[in-house]
Assembly symmetry: C2
Homo-oligomer: 147 residues x 2
């Protein structure tokens, strides 16, 4: 039987979250946290709605997943996020000891790979999953803002 | 007339917050945000109580100060924090465009200076204010945990 629970499958869920951010006028970034092929947290960027620079999709998903699990460490969890995490979110992911991070598009300016934020040694990183779709949504957002 | 509103004055407020964390069994870090010599946010580390790695003192103070100001940028604000901020908190402070960060003790392992997290170009950093008191509290906490 074919496994439907691929990285693309869960990145599509994150993309749906990013689209919800777009519709609210937020920079369109979405995230989900998955354990044993089950989504236990989903979120999208809410920095404008909440007037809070810390309300990135990843931060909300880390908090929600820990709440679901009843413990603050996200062992055996994977975060899917449409954009490369920033320093803040990568720093939070370090503390969470999350097992895996899968992201879509690169953020050449503020992404943690560019800026050298250190992750936990236990954390595996996969990049480029649905990168084109994730990046296109970002470009469409900034193009709409320039109008 | 002598100005009582020195960096030491406000760091003492942050230290009081750190002591509240200690009393709760949390790593004793406290923070306050000040604008025009007025404390607009105060917080202490609550990662254990809240089961949330993102609940560092600085993160809570950034959110609370933005809520008080009604806007997400902490221009003309100073954060006083007893310990050098980590990557996550420094990353959040970058996004907040805060004017000044004053910290007490260095964190040689996970501090943003050691790890090279980038702050906003507008942000000034002062270190070492009541460093001994702030560091002593941390050492007392970890000594008590080893017992």
């Amino acid at each position: 039987m074919e496994n439907i629970f691929t990285d693309e499958y869960f990145m599509k869920k994150a993309l749906q979250e990013a689209e919800m951010a777009f519709e609210k006028g937020e920079i369109p970034v979405g995230a989900v946290v998955v354990i044993d092929n089950k989504v236990i947290a989903k979120s999208h960027n809410l920095t404008e709605v909440l007037n809070d620079v810390t309300a990135h999709a990843e931060m909300q998903s880390i908090t929600a997943a820990a709440n679901f699990l009843g413990g603050k460490y996200l062992k055996n969890c994977t975060l899917y996020v449409t954009l490369e995490p920033c320093q803040m979110c990568a720093g939070a992911l370090y503390w969470s000891q999350i097992s895996k991070i899968v992201f879509g598009a690169r953020d050449e300016q503020r992404g943690f790979l560019t800026l050298g934020t250190s992750l936990h040694p236990k954390t595996q990183v996969v990049e480029g999953v649905l990168a084109s779709e994730c990046g296109t949504l970002m470009k469409a957002f900034f193009a709409s803002k320039r109008k």
